[in-house]
Subunit: 355 residues, 2 copies
């Protein structure tokens, strides 16, 4: 954190209750408000601070600008036993994705496997929140989305035509934490670059280029910059594929028709997402699978380390430990986030909910 | 290519006929031999030279060492309408994956979506060959496999416990070539590094580290080296997830129980793969989807380029053009590959098939 930036710690329950109250005051039905707040706090608990309660100021701007439909009819417009296309009716993204994920889980319970795509959605927070929902049903989850702003170019390009298009996959284990991948397909997020600028640090070669294709290492110049994909052309390809599976396939935005949700809070986003749920016992008896997952997890964790490296982490393991820690000891928020929450609380006359 | 390495061009049909004859002479049933040869040539046509006919010398060693079951019973041992677990019975990998992919397509035709996993398989060539098979049915294909040798470590590790675990996804388009991603989750393949060593070139920082975690840029030292994942911990996570979905879920090898197929041609590989097929018309009318894919493809290809960049390529587009070119003008092979094929032809008394 920037020098002098002291974190303030809030109990998860209090932040969640505040979030629910704020969204309800802004006009969301109580149940939708509670659900959105819960999904935001899920992200904060996992340590994905950029996708949690931090976003509520942005969401509130969008709601006030009538950029969100507060009385949506979220529903499947095409459907069979194992797939569905869900029209989010411009609802809060969390409401759309919760509906889609529950639908995928229900279908996968019956059929073994389901893939649900959504259009007319909005930013839904952290991907791992949704990919992890099938875990409790001994299912694997997979989630992809088209990011809500374009900060990347095609490989060889300089036009901002692609987003950070993330992928999340969650796989159950036994005694070990589930393995949960949640990655953007860019080397770094815009948030990470802004943080480096705040700290006065430079960013590594490989994170950004400028419009001439030259490495950009001064994060203060990020507005001229283009995020780079992981693995060069490989990450570019993965990014495009995710955009097509979560966007084009669902009739959702991808490419130039993505509306930058930071610059425009009123225009319909038509954000696209997909969620897959698949029962483990299609392939292996659940307990056998979990035992083997535990064995493999321990093998990787226990494999020989580079000298000086304390520990090898499995995907999602750090986040799993953070959830336990933050549930017990609260969620630390940066001063700017606390100030923004206080401001929103003041506007909505909910100051007491934060104290 | 190395200096003085003149390529020799063969018609695809001749190489395929030679491959089929060689495998049949080695003991494969005629139909399996023809199928394996066809899948190898599919890879060569796409320009994935490391996964095509080049491999036949290795396959023949494995067959002679009784490392392959020549009379396998490839079959689904668990199955429902949308998933199957296929026992490859230690058949040639191409035979197993062809069976699995056709099964996935058949199920997806009826149900809309299918995921088929395999165990007891072997190296099956290029992933794009299988992920692309659903395209002709207006389906999306997805393929993952656990690589047959471990050249990568966990993030922070130095033990060779992970392979290049690749991912391939194919999405149909209309007038435009289908979009086909086919990537290893390491920055470079071992083959690429060996090629650099042959040429006397150094390799970029970021491709390999040594056992102390330091960058390794001399490809002649590759035996001490560890391949690095794309995007650091992100590619490591993706690699592990692929290993679990293609390996653990199918009861196939992953981690320390992967047998290095280059060092040991006799021991059962228990190679694991997965293939998914999904109908586009679950979500959009086919023609509408294809039109939108064409539009997005053209938008990306036509987006503003870095000065000096001639063209922006979509994933799989270069390979698509190579297929047309190589079908028309033949497949160029390096002298060492030709020499190896000639040697095998001599051993099997099939010299005339190559001329």
């Amino acid at each position: 954190m920037a020098a002098g930036a002291e974190l303030q710690v809030f109990p998860a329950e209090r932040l969640q209750a505040f979030g629910a109250a704020a969204l309800a005051t802004l006009g969301l039905p109580e149940s939708d408000a509670a659900l959105c707040a819960a999904r935001m706090i899920d992200a904060d608990l996992r340590g994905v601070d950029t996708h949690g309660i931090f976003r509520i100021n942005h969401y509130s701007q969008r709601i006030r600008a009538k950029g969100i439909n507060l009385r949506p009819q979220v529903r499947a417009v095409r459907e069979n036993a194992v797939t569905a296309l869900v029209d989010g009716d411009n609802a809060m993204g969390h409401v759309v994705m919760d509906f889609a994920t529950e639908l995928a889980i229900r279908k996968a319970k019956d059929a073994g496997l389901a893939w649900v795509g959504t259009f007319n959605g909005n930013h839904a927070g952290a991907g791992a929140v949704y990919s992890s929902m099938p875990l409790a049903h001994d299912m694997i989850g997979m989630y992809m989305t088209v990011a809500n702003a374009n900060h990347m170019a095609a490989w060889g390009g300089v036009e901002l035509i692609l987003g950070t298009n993330p992928l999340s996959v969650a796989i159950p284990a036994g005694e070990e934490p589930p393995v949960v991948l949640d990655i953007a397909t860019t080397m770094a997020s815009y948030g990470k670059i802004k943080l480096a600028a705040q700290k006065g640090e430079s960013i590594p070669v490989g994170w950004m280029i400028d419009r001439n294709g030259q490495p950009l290492t001064d994060p203060k110049r990020s507005s001229e910059g283009i995020l780079l994909p992981i693995g060069g052309y490989k990450g570019y390809g993965l990014n495009v594929i995710i955009g097509m599976l979560a966007g084009v396939l669902n009739g959702a935005a991808f490419g130039r028709n993505v509306v930058d949700f930071n610059k425009d809070v009123a225009t319909r986003n038509n954000s696209g997402h997909m969620i897959m749920a698949m029962r483990v016992d299609n392939f292996q008896p659940v307990e056998e699978f979990k035992r083997e997952m535990d064995r493999v997890i321990r093998e990787i964790r226990g494999s020989q380390r580079i000298e000086g490296v304390d520990r090898i982490w499995l995907p999602g393991e750090m986040e799993y430990e953070l959830v336990r820690e933050r549930r017990a000891h609260g969620i630390p928020l940066a001063p700017i986030v606390v100030a923004n929450l206080r401001q929103l609380a003041g506007e909505l006359n909910l100051q007491d909910r934060l104290e």
